[in-house]
């Protein structure tokens, strides 16, 4: 057991993948000599060489586009988009080919690749470096969308994503890269993609979130308990596609009340889908309308105004109390 940050835990997962599977290859801008702008690929070029850890030209579309071809020749690419905000250059290849080849060829040509993208606010970065656009990827059939929230699940989910036979968008909450440490087991660990975790049990209200928003949600749960004697049940989704509706339904049916929290804008955001499914499957168990705590439907503000834009514990507490007091 070691106390690791998410950055170190991701590095561990990549190291394990390179060690365990000789067909894996890491590719991205500045991932080699520079070890990644967030140092997620620290020491990997040194230990595995330039054929396994490839410094790529500034061409996001080619990173994922060439990765398709690598897949066809039996190589398993782990791509890095330096920031999710630049992932849109790769959108065309992801939407038009990566998500489709399995269906198009009825399984003869497939794209078992991972596209890692740091997302979200919280590091006072310049424009285009702070958005949460997971809904865009979750909307595309044929992709899995995995979003870890802490060091231990980041390591295990990245391992699972690399092993997955389908393309995975691995959305990394960069605000969590170095925000805190967790015990991460020495032995390789994997998790099933598509299983949410109940990270805290409670009976008064279900709070559903994922990724970076799990931090304010945990903080809010403490405040709800300490200040208002409310026991919130917290669900960390860990993946948006597939979405673990069974865990969601079990909790909502128990508490009858629900708040969904994410940084992404509200309109057609993940919360909209989650709530739609709750309405479809568990409407009769609801005691109150479901509340959303999300980014506003605005262009992401520059970093001096990003704090009030983001979900925080105060917003979550307000929403949870509104739902409970309905």
């Amino acid at each position: 057991m070691a106390q690791l940050t998410m950055a170190k835990a991701l590095n561990l997962a990549l190291r394990e993948a390179l060690q365990e599977d000789p067909t894996t290859l890491i590719m991205g801008q500045d991932v080699g000599q520079d070890e990644g702008v967030f140092r997620i690929t620290e020491n990997l070029l040194k230990d595995f060489g330039a054929d396994r850890v490839v410094d790529f030209p500034v061409a996001e579309s080619s990173i994922v586009g060439l990765a398709i071809g690598l897949c066809f020749t039996g190589i398993k690419p782990i791509c890095e988009m330096q920031f999710s905000g630049f992932g849109y250059h790769g959108f065309h290849q992801i939407e038009n080919h990566i998500s489709r080849f399995r269906n198009r060829t009825r399984g003869r040509l497939t794209c078992p690749m991972v596209v890692r993208m740091p997302y979200g606010a919280g590091i006072r970065a310049i424009e285009h470096h702070s958005e949460s656009r997971e809904a865009i990827w979750a909307h595309l059939p044929g992709l899995k969308v995995v979003i870890p929230s802490g060091p231990r699940n980041a390591r295990a989910l990245l391992k699972a994503s690399i092993a997955d036979p389908d393309p995975v968008i691995f959305y990394e909450p960069k605000a969590c890269y170095r925000a805190f440490k967790e015990e991460v087991p020495d032995a390789p660990e994997s998790m099933e993609i598509g299983k949410a975790q109940v990270v805290r049990e409670g009976s008064d209200v279900t709070i559903i979130s994922y990724g970076a928003s799990m931090r304010p949600v945990l903080e809010a749960a403490d405040e709800l308990k300490d200040e208002y004697q409310l026991d919130a049940e917290l669900i960390d989704l860990l993946s948006l596609v597939p979405l673990d509706t069974e865990t969601i339904m079990a909790s909502v049916r128990k508490t009858g009340r629900c708040v969904v929290v994410h940084e992404a804008p509200r309109n057609c955001g993940p919360a909209a889908e989650i709530i739609a499914r709750i309405v479809e499957e568990s409407l009769e168990f609801l005691e109150a309308p479901i509340e959303r705590v999300t980014g506003y439907d605005l262009v992401m503000p520059f970093f001096n105004l990003e704090r009030p834009y983001l979900p925080d514990a105060t917003k979550v507490v307000l929403a949870a109390r509104k739902v409970v007091n309905y």
Binding site: P57, S62, L66, I68, L70, C71, R102, T105
Partner: protein, 380 residues
């Protein structure tokens, strides 16, 4: 300081070997066995007749929109003749001659244009990618395939196709730039058929040639008479040989002409003159190759007649088989992911209930009756 001219390492050349009157440049004439010449002539004839029949099928409403490759048979057949079965073939969508040469049954091609994914499934073991619709996007994965062959050290190369219009796309630039950087054994054939739907070649780029684009990637560019199968074979063999020896990618501009419509949804009279089309008629790749094989004595008039008859019969049989094909509406659910996730299982259940409720008959979105009777057999 005086201005200095920068001497570039790379050059652009033009080659043609067999002219429209059947004259051959003996110095460059590629060695091809008589058997192979016969096979190539048959393949080119098949591609031509296939195209003609597809246009008829489209007019009869038996397939969807069709994009013919009339007049471009040599430009796509020559390059795939120059590679091995284990090498990779990455088409755009105007390469039926190459696709048939690679062993795809005619039925599959018909089924693709008839709106069936089955037409996009490469035959077992084939190192072929299906038709690519988004223009030039295939250059990127073609570069990846070639790079993968290099990383795997399997000696393979990739031959990929793009059109003159595709050279304006970012994917063309990014793909070739990366292929060059990684020394990927990629041979990219630009089928310069002079028209990207309605946009003429001169409005596509201010470059003097498309071949010279290679220079900006640190590669040699070769402009080839694309209606001359011998030149296409010669040029591709040279590029393949270089690629296998670690010399990296090559761009070959095949100068050809789109004799027909862009697709059957298009009327070229709106943007180009009949005179222009007429100028290209004597340059027909099939007529020219016929002069060559006839002069060599490898295909006689009588052989040709027999060949034509067999080809028409093969196409007729393929059409019959294709029209027997009943798509399974459940397949898209089965092939979205390796394992069907819960949400798709639920949607599949909903879809099956719908199919059962249709009782075999429903209407498609455009109001045409669509027979779903064949689908119900897939319900279980």
């Amino acid at each position: 300081m005086p201005r200095k001219k920068i001497e570039l390492e790379n050059i652009v050349e033009n080659i043609s070997i067999l002219d429209q009157d059947g004259n051959v440049d003996k110095a460059l004439e590629p060695k091809i066995s008589n058997d192979d010449l016969r096979r190539l002539f048959r393949a080119m004839t098949l591609a031509r007749r296939y195209d003609e029949r597809m246009l008829k099928l489209q007019r009869q409403g038996r397939i969807g929109t069709y994009g013919p490759a009339l007049g471009q048979e040599a430009a796509s057949l020559g390059p795939v003749y120059a590679i091995n079965k284990d090498d990779w073939f990455v088409p755009s969508f105007r390469e039926p001659a190459a696709t048939l040469w690679r062993g795809w049954p005619i039925d599959k091609l018909i089924l693709w244009w008839g709106g069936n994914e089955f037409g996009a499934t490469p035959p077992d073991g084939a190192h072929d990618v299906p038709i690519c619709v988004p223009v030039a996007s295939q250059v990127q994965y073609a570069a990846g395939i070639a790079w993968g062959c290099k990383l795997k050290k399997n000696g393979g190369v990739a031959v990929a196709f793009v059109g003159d219009g595709g050279t304006s796309e970012g994917d063309f630039h990014e793909g070739m730039n990366c292929a060059a950087i990684f020394g990927a054994p990629l041979i990219l054939i630009i089928q310069n058929n002079q028209w990207a739907i309605s946009l003429p070649r001169k409005k596509q780029t201010a470059s003097q040639t498309l071949a010279q684009k290679a220079i900006s990637y640190g590669l040699n560019g070769l402009q080839v008479d694309g209606n001359d199968i011998l030149a296409m074979i010669y040029a591709t063999r040279e590029a393949v040989d270089r690629a296998r020896k670690g010399g990296g990618p090559t761009i070959i501009e095949a100068v050809t002409y789109r004799m027909g419509v862009h697709t059957t949804a298009d009327d070229p009279k709106k943007y180009r003159t009949e005179d222009e089309v007429d100028c290209w008629k004597p340059k027909c790749p099939l007529a020219r190759f016929w002069l060559y094989v006839k002069a060599k004595g490898v295909v006689t008039e009588k052989d040709r007649e027999k060949m034509e008859e067999e080809i028409q019969n093969d196409i007729t049989a393929a059409i019959e088989r294709a029209e027997q094909y009943a798509p399974n509406p459940l397949e898209p659910f089965e092939h979205c992911f390796a394992e069907m996730p819960l949400h798709l299982k639920r949607q599949l259940k909903e879809f099956k209930a719908y199919l059962a409720a249709t009782n075999g008959e429903t209407s498609s979105a455009d109001g045409n009756p669509e027979n779903l009777a064949g689908y119900s057999k897939h319900l279980h």
